[in-house]
Amino acid sequence: MVASGTGTQLAIGCEDGSVKIFQVVPGGIQFERNLDRRKGRVLCLSWHRSGTHIVAGSIDFFRVIDVASGQTVQRIMVNHQVEKAKRECVVWAIALLSSGTVVSADSFGRVQFWDWEQGTLAESHTVSTSAALSLAVSEKEDSIVVGTSTGATYQLQLLPVKLGGLEKCWVRTKPFQFHSHDVRAVAHSSTALISGGLDAQLVIRPLMEKVQKKGYDAVLRKFTFPHRRLVSCARKARLLLFQFSQYLELWRLGSTEETGKDGEVLPPCRMPEHLVQLKSKGPEHIYCSCVSPCGTWVGYSTASRFQLYRVRCDGDGVSLRKVPKVPKLLPPAYQLQFSADSESLFVASARGSVHVFQLLEPGGCKHLHTLQPPSGCSEAVYLLAPSADGHWLAAVSGDWAIHIYNLKCFQHHCVVPAYSCAVSALAIHPSTNNLVIAYSDQQLFEFSIPEKQYTSWSRAVQSRGLHRTWLERDSPITHITFNPKNPAHILLHDTYLLCILDKSLPLPDDSTLLMNQSTLKQLPETARKRQLHAFKICKKFQPLLFMDLLDENCLVVVERPIMDFKTQLPLAVQQKKFGT
């Protein structure tokens, strides 16, 4: 399925060999017509920039279709050279350049350049011994990135044959091997090559020659986990809800009665217990989920439906009952959040709106109110943070604006001053009602809701600047929580570290060591005092999915070892490696 350059039309290739054109209308799509149907499944499509032609790749051939007439103008066999092999050649990816050149990537590992008008092969590059699966062209059409089934991506560049000359040819230049499995999707931004593969990784590889200055863009980034909260915790009931792509799992935490020193593993007196697995119906992926703090409500949402369940624990048995007559939401939730007293549910929705539901005993719910920014908003809300006293709610929409609502009177309270970066996590302090915001560029802000301004600590942080090592980290903060015992403590975590931010301590400057916990341990008590700074970082748990404070002396940390899902991956393409 590919949209045309103007975004007004949508072309869909089908298994039966037909290509259907849909008109994009406000609020949906509308079938327009069928283009010329030929035998052979359509595997890939590409629009010409002008929207006049579509090229469709199939097995052993691809064809160029004139959109206006709907007729096939050219049908080109890609399998001519390798007739002896008798293997079918699957065109996995295709691109139609504005010059009229068709670029095809096929299962023989070739990237071929065709003149579609003549139907002739201009260039052929065998980039890999295994299949070339994906293809993306840069905006200027002078560079192509190809993903292959061995996990390697290659860049092809249009370079002059003679310096300063007009004649140009495509040259395979940089190979990158960052994936272990198929590279299913690639994208070409102006400064980076982006690839995603079957090994559940997203890799952003900067093109150093295009990057102007050293910064976030100039570093290779690898993402394994989504920058979203996939685990929610019922603090009072000590339950954890894990969100998987097709199902939810509810676990009861184990506990121990013993105490020990740092580094010891205590024997649990009660083992953690898998209570229930909740499968979502249909093929859709679960988009968001949440468990209420009391542990009696579980809600989740897919792309089309929103579901709410009532959990009853009687003795050892756990029963789940679907809450009937949940108000239909269109579109469904982008984020779910229960209030601290578990009496209401906040549903983040499109156009900057947040729906407030009242939860009723023994198992019902009622739509109370819909909160909306006064100026209106086109983007959906993706993060919610209710205050512990039930007074405030902070909501972040896709345009990165943070709106704060008063829940007592269901009114818009204020907007946090705009910052040119995405919000990755936010939370409201239970005692001071200060909103702590973490941005994706690793900046931290504290905003006082009652006073509608940044706190003095936040200003101090901004004037002083955060530590360089902190700013150069890879992954954004995904969750923020607080220590009720010590209001100066803010607990943060990302995929690789867990941090206790102590506002009462001085901020570190660039000359000091940011991660100094191990060195502090070796120092005597008096010297340690002088070395202390605000960031107390622990990197013991990696990759870290979730961290929350259950009660005053109990912290729950969810770690997901990479090997857990690496072992579930299918076998990688066999490659002979020299020296093995």
């Binding site: 065998t126 980039v127 370079l159 003679k162 310096l163 040259v171 395979r172 230049t173 020299f578």
Partner: protein, 804 residues
């Protein structure tokens, strides 16, 4: 003094292969593998050769002597000599940094030109020719050094410098090893120390340059070459595999494996039909364009380390030494080619650094060459795995077959080995002696096998140990049999012991402290009562075996002591203050017969006397000791040298020169028609051409020089010398007339004047000219009668010189 085949850089057309070898440029025929011409004239090492891009029959060569010469290699005539004030064409040395300079080729009419117009193009370039390449149509020049690539565009005067990271990760090593440019496109190919090949494009942008990588080699890429069209790229390295990459794609590549030894250089012929690879063992392989092995030109194999010494095979008179790893090469000196290679170790050799492999360390032949003893040991220092093998020459197969294998003959390294040389007594008296660092020497004899199944006489014998001797628990270092085989001398550190070979009794000991004995040998023929020894502390001693006393000793740091098997002469090579000197003496006289100081700058490690097929007529009294055999030296850079009494040009047979003329004609029906006519003409041409080619004449008569350089107190009376002096003047005048015709006189005289060491120069000149009868026929006929007379006079008069 001649150098045999230490090739440096090759350039080839489809018919001729040009190769810089030592001070010379060699021209080989591609079709016959024959050396067509040896172009000498450079006074020092030739560092680079390049075909003239405008005329493929011309060649530029550069040398460390600071000149660039333009040759017409068809005739072997230097066309122009360009004198650079500094050292080299491409580079000159300035405190460890090399610079690339451009030289304007002046269009002067004269032959010798001096160029002062030098302009520095690039600073800090790599020292090797492989580190510099010129781009398409000479638009830019590329140089690599360490991890930096420099491109200089001549027109835009733009210098771009690209650096790779110096960090060595995962066995990666980004240092450049070689660079070549695409002939038609703007693409640079570089080889790297970790085996990668990078293809650079867009390098006129400082930032948006890009490269792709080809990786097959597991170790350093030694050289690269593009085909003429640029569609194929050849690469080679230590794997001994030539890799052909198509269209710069890493997926399409062809291999030519098993080339024998690591590839050092790759060169394409100018028409693209052939390519050739030069290997580290001094071999050139010619390869077809479809990557098929065509033929190879093999000189003396350069092995990693000559441990066996120079040994002469008594049967073939070939020089025998380490060849390929684990092999023994038989190298024919007459034809400058390898006769055959004998696999001694019989194990697969793996090209990998740090791997301990067995190699051949000692070799000895029996007097008639029927038995060959070899010792091999693994490279481990502490526990060498030793094997002594005895080989018998079988007449049927015309090669050596293994007779006995003895594992661990000694507990430590074997230091020396010799056979008892007794021609008249036959095989039964054959004795082999080995000395080891385990402080013993062992005597090995043949025993008859008790097994009746043995068929032939030699299959039924095997070797076993007969006697083990030691002396005060000293390490045995050398052993030597006297000429009649009755005495065995074994040196134990500081002491030489003499043993009776029948009863194995210790007869007497000799000692000349301080210092260990380095070499020992017995005198021969009339001097067989003498034993010669050289010590570490620089003494050459001669002991009389009859009186058991020191006859004489001399203070000389002798590194090589080599007796001539056919005469009493012993050659000793000393190494003093960075130069090697040669002394030839007879043991019964403490005064040397012949001294050649400053033989060469390199250290001479080994020497051997090779018997001549027939005694040569040597006119000069000074070289009489070379009459029966020829002396060869091997230096530490593995160059083989010899003292020659002939000029180099004469070594090449005239037939090969005719061949060159024939081959230069393209074969067309018309040329075939004209063939007969041309053949006659060509013969006339060569007849006429000869005197011109060979005109290298002497400056002054040897007799005059002899007269002037002999110390006054040993000269006979003046009246006695007068006739010789006058006679010699007469002869040299005859020669002068012929000399005036020659073109090269100026050059020759210049060379002579420039050289400071006058004594040596005279010797060299003399070598060039002494065999008069082989010069052009016309001069020969004219002076034959006079020459006879002269020889008579010389023989008579020079007898007094023999007294020295």
């Amino acid at each position: 003094k001649s150098l045999l085949n230490s090739a440096i850089r090759t350039q080839s057309t489809s018919q001729y292969l040009l190769c810089a070898s030592g001070d010379f440029v060699k021209v080989y025929s591609v079709n016959t593998e024959e050396t067509l011409r040896l172009m000498g004239g450079h006074a020092d090492l030739v560092t680079g050769i390049q075909l003239n891009p405008h005329n493929h029959m011309q060649l530029y060569s550069s040398s460390l002597d600071g000149t660039i010469k333009l040759w017409d290699f068809m005739d072997g005539i230097p066309i122009k000599v360009l004198l650079l004030l500094v050292s080299d064409r491409f580079f000159f040395l300035w405190s460890d940094t090399f610079q690339l300079v451009s030289v304007k080729l002046t269009k002067g009419a004269g032959q010798d030109l001096e160029s002062k117009e030098l302009s520095v193009v690039l600073d800090g370039v790599g020292a090797s020719v492989k580190h510099i390449a010129f781009g398409r149509e000479g638009a830019y020049v590329v140089s690599v050094k360490d991890v930096t690539l420099q491109v200089y565009f001549f027109k835009r005067k733009l210098l771009n410098r690209f650096s790779l990271s110096t960090v060595k990760t995962k066995g990666g090593d980004n240092r450049f090893s070689c660079v070549v440019c695409h002939p038609t496109e703007d693409c640079i190919a570089t080889g790297h120390a970790d085996g990668k090949i990078r293809l650079w494009r867009n390098f006129h942008h400082r930032k948006e340059y890009t490269y792709s990588t080809l990786h097959w080699h597991h170790d350093i890429v030694m050289d690269l070459a593009f085909s003429v069209e640029g569609t194929r790229l050849l690469s080679g390295g230590v794997e001994s595999v030539l890799v052909q990459w198509h269209n710069e794609s890493s997926c399409q590549k062809d291999f030519l494996p098993r080339l024998g030894s690591p590839i050092e250089y790759i060169s394409m012929s100018s028409d693209g039909a052939l390519c050739c690879t030069l290997h580290t063992d001094n071999r050139i392989t010619i390869i077809n364009s479809n990557l098929r092995f065509s033929r190879s030109i093999q000189g003396l194999i350069k092995s990693r380390d000559v441990k066996t010494g120079l040994v002469v095979d008594p049967r073939t008179k070939a020089l025998v030494l380490n060849g390929e790893p684990g092999h023994l090469q038989f190298y024919s000196l007459q034809s400058d080619q390898q006769l055959f290679s004998l696999d001694i170790v019989q194990r697969q050799y793996i090209h990998q650094a740090g791997l301990k492999q067995s190699d051949l360390v000692k070799v000895a032949f029996s007097a008639q060459g029927t038995w060959l003893a070899t010792v091999e040991e693994s490279e481990e220092v502490t526990d060498p795995e030793l094997q002594l093998k005895l080989w018998f020459y079988s007449e049927e197969t015309q090669s050596f077959t293994l007779n006995t294998r003895i594992n661990t003959p000694h507990d430590n390294h074997i230091t020396d080995m010799c056979f008892r040389d007794m021609d008249e007594l036959g095989d039964d008296s054959l004795i082999l002696v080995t000395t080891g660092r385990d402080c013993v020497f062992k005597v090995w004899v043949m025993v008859e096998d008790t097994d009746p199944e043995g068929k032939s006489a030699h299959e039924s014998v095997s070797w076993s140990c007969d006697f083990v001797g030691s002396y005060h628990n000293y390490q045995a270092t050398n052993c030597c049999f006297s000429e009649d085989g009755s005495l065995l001398a074994v040196s134990f550190e500081e002491t030489v012991t003499v043993w009776d070979s029948l009863t194995w009794d210790l007869k007497c000991t000799f000692c000349h402290p301080p210092g260990n004995i380095r070499n020992i040998c017995f005198g021969r023929l009339t001097c067989s009562k003498y034993l010669i020894g050289a010590t570490d502390y620089g003494f050459l001693c001669c002991w009389n075996l009859l009186t058991c006393a020191l006859e004489w000793s001399a203070h000389l740091n002798i590194v090589v002591l080599q007796p001539d098997p056919l005469s009493e002469h012993i050659a000793a090579v000393s190494w003093l203050s960075k130069e090697s000197s040669l002394f030839v003496f007879k043991p019964n006289e403490p005064r040397p017969l012949y001294i050649q100081r400053n033989l060469c700058k390199e250290k001479i490690l080994l020497a051997a006397f090779v018997p001549r097929d027939e005694p040569e007529t040597i006119s000069s009294e000074k070289y009489l000791w070379l009459r029966k055999s020829q002396l060869f030296f091997l230096t530490d850079t593995q160059e083989l040298m010899t003292l020659s009494t002939k000029s180099l040009e004469e070594r090449l047979t005239p037939s090969s020169k005719q061949l060159a003329v024939e081959e230069s004609l393209p074969v067309t029906p018309f040329s075939l028609l004209l063939g007969k006519h041309r053949h006659q003409q060509a013969q006339e041409d060569t007849d006429l051409g000869k005197p011109v080619v060979h005109n290298k004449q002497e400056q002054a008569s040897p007799a005059v020089k002899e007269l002037l350089h002999t110390p006054a107190h040993v000269l006979p009376s003046a009246s006695f010398l007068c006739t010789i002096f006058i006679n010699s003047l007469l002869i040299s005048k005859e020669n002068k007339s012929a000399e005036e015709v020659a073109d090269e006189v100026e050059m020759e005289s210049e060379k002579a004047d420039g050289d400071s060491d006058e004594e040596d120069v005279t010797v060299m000149e003399q070598e060039d000219t002494s065999p008069m009868e082989l010069l052009g026929e016309m001069t020969c006929k004219l002076s034959k009668s006079q020459e006879k007379e002269l020889r008579k006079i010389r023989k008579m008069d020079y007898s007094w010189i023999a007294a020295f």
